[in-house]
């Protein structure tokens, strides 16, 4: 029996009126006993379809290196005025995954791949085939995917075709069309172009759920080595401050994010961690994304070595320690080697190996110490404290496991009932 369904769900209460005879052309093919064609809609001219599909192929291929795929929004806007389709789900939804394991939740495209910048890692400046959407084309393509539940929202970025303000206006026009004429009330992530003006940023934060501008590199000198016509302080940091102010006034409920191209400018991990920490502190960044540099054919950096994916993964883990666990930055420095690089090892485990000189008794440790044990996160640490507060004791590893701790990772650092797992064996 299904719980909590209304009485109308009972088969005995099915409508009595016989259904109107269905036209053969309306029957769905996969469930019907006889195969039937589904020409419901008058198809647009074939040239238009081919043109739009080709544009989508080129402009989404160019946009795939932007990593952000999150659609979560802790405080989604109440139903947007005039919205007739689409909503924002607070935890976000991943509708598909590519064979590289990355989530496909957003219709992630560039508005145009024409670009006057000279970023040496990027394919847009050297790409021979330039394409641009018209606002209506973009909205039609997106709505066709959203209606079928393929995507959760729109992610719109762009190359900078000559004038950044003009390109930003084109992007805003497209999203305003989507919001106002197509009455879409779901998730939109809008990229702010370096050089966008204050008024445009206010418009963007008013209509988008999340906005972002990519820092790409951790400092001005490093950025200029890979993108000579981007000015770090003015084009990026100033715009981030404007975004922060706009968000403070109620715009973009999912906040702002940024992205680093890891390894393109020859930076070390300490520089990235420092910049990220400043972004969290000064720009109230929601989170940072890392994209391991991957040399692309026909770009000036095509012969350079790519960044190993494990480095990107370790940076995400370190970011987790800063952002979610709230570890002080100085403590996180403890996992860096002399060159300021992370080892290919879980940074929390590396920190624990440096921190603990004796096993920890979970019946006595405070929250701070519990959080530093590998396999114990904020939720399980809170559960342990709650259990102790009510007079309970952790007698064995099974109790800890039932509280959500990852027993195998935690075991070497724990002392339960006076018994101590052999840390030496762990180290060897």
């Amino acid at each position: 029996m299904l719980p909590a369904l209304s009485p109308a769900c009972s088969p005995s209460l099915l409508p009595l009126a016989p259904p109107a005879p269905t036209k053969p052309a309306d029957t769905p093919s996969s469930l019907s006993p006889t195969p039937i064609v589904l020409p419901y809609l008058p198809l647009p001219p074939i040239t238009y379809i081919m043109g739009l599909h080709e544009k989508v192929r080129i402009l989404s291929d160019a946009g795939k290196y932007d990593i952000c795929a999150s659609t979560s929004c802790a405080n989604p806007p109440a139903v947007r005025p005039n919205a007739s389709i689409g909503n924002v789900m607070p935890p976000g939804v991943c509708h598909s995954f590519t064979p590289d394991g990355r989530c496909v939740s957003l219709f992630k495209v560039l508005y145009t791949n024409a670009c006057s910048m000279d970023c040496t890692y990027c394919t847009n400046p050297t790409c021979h085939r330039k394409e641009s959407f018209q606002p209506k084309e973009l909205c039609d393509a997106f709505m066709s995917l959203y209606m079928r539940n393929y995507v959760e929202g729109m992610f719109l970025s762009s190359g900078i075709a000559r004038d950044p303000e003009r390109t930003m206006d084109d992007i805003l026009e497209a999203i305003e069309l989507l919001r106002n004429k197509y009455r879409f009330g779901g998730y939109v992530h809008l990229k702010i172009l370096p050089g966008a003006n204050l008024d445009q940023i206010k418009r963007a934060t008013a209509i988008a759920d999340r906005v972002s501008i990519n820092v790409e590199a951790p400092s001005s000198s490093l950025l200029s080595s890979i993108a000579s016509n981007k000015e770090y302080g003015n084009d990026i940091l100033l715009r981030q401050r404007w975004i922060k102010e706009s968000i403070k006034k109620g715009g973009a409920p999912a906040g702002q994010t940024t992205q680093f191209v890891v390894g393109a400018a020859g930076e070390n991990d300490r520089e990235i961690i420092d910049r990220l920490w400043m972004e969290y502190r000064d720009m109230k960044l929601k989170r940072g994304y890392f994209s391991a540099f991957n040399p692309i054919k026909e770009t000036p950096m095509e012969k350079e070595d790519g960044t190993p994916l494990w480095r990107e993964h370790r940076l995400y883990q370190t970011d987790w320690l800063l952002r979610v666990y709230k570890f002080p930055r100085r403590e996180v420095y403890g996992v860096l080697d002399d060159d300021g690089m992370l080892e290919n090892m879980d940074p929390k485990l590396a920190l624990a190996r440096r921190t603990f000189d004796r096993p920890v008794d979970p019946n006595e440790a405070d929250y701070r110490s519990l959080l530093r044990i590998p396999g114990i996160g904020p939720t399980s640490a809170s559960r342990i404290l709650e259990h102790r507060k009510r007079g309970g004791r952790i007698e064995n590893i099974r109790t800890l496991k039932s509280m959500g701790a990852v027993a195998n990772r935690a075991r070497p650092f724990l002392m339960l009932n006076g018994w101590q797992a052999s840390m030496e064996r762990w180290w060897s």
Binding site: P19, I49, P99, G101
Partner: protein, 196 residues
Amino acid sequence: MFHLPRHERCSSLFIEKVRHIPDSDLDALSSPEARKAYNMAREVAGDSHRTLAYIRFQLFRERVLWSEAKPKHRVEDMVFSYLRKRYPHFGLVLKTQRGYFGVWPDGELIRWPVEKDMNDVLAEVAAKVPEKAVWWDDQGEGLWDTFYNSQFISSRKNLPLFYKAMPKYYLENFPGLGVECRRVENGTLDAYIEEV
């Protein structure tokens, strides 16, 4: 623990047992039963979330979105509560192993027996939707193939991660995931030619 009765393998005996677990144990998950109940509730929530994510709709008379899928647990009404907010002007029909579930604007969720003909169900729901819900230039389903295939970065290929995110159960029981299956099993013709 609200989700427990929806779990396919949860007996009424276990639900009764869970009712007697003290709240403190349930909050801290400090007993194996509490943990088991928590895991079952999470499985249901996860199944509901994945069903919502992986169903793919087809359009009927520009009024009704319909799909078929086999969620592991009894989550149909949870899924519909989200879908109604997302597509308020459409009629919605989902066929699962437990029957047809359908709803239209301002209507209650209705269930039809699985033996009923899909065409009848769709016609019935379409008749309840007063006006066309699609008014833009629909680009059809093929656009998803184009978009999805453009998103793969071959240098990052990681099939174990893919299968962790999209377990085989869903690939096999959600017919709308054909593009993903083809991409993973066979790759594209372009990729094949490039490799050769």
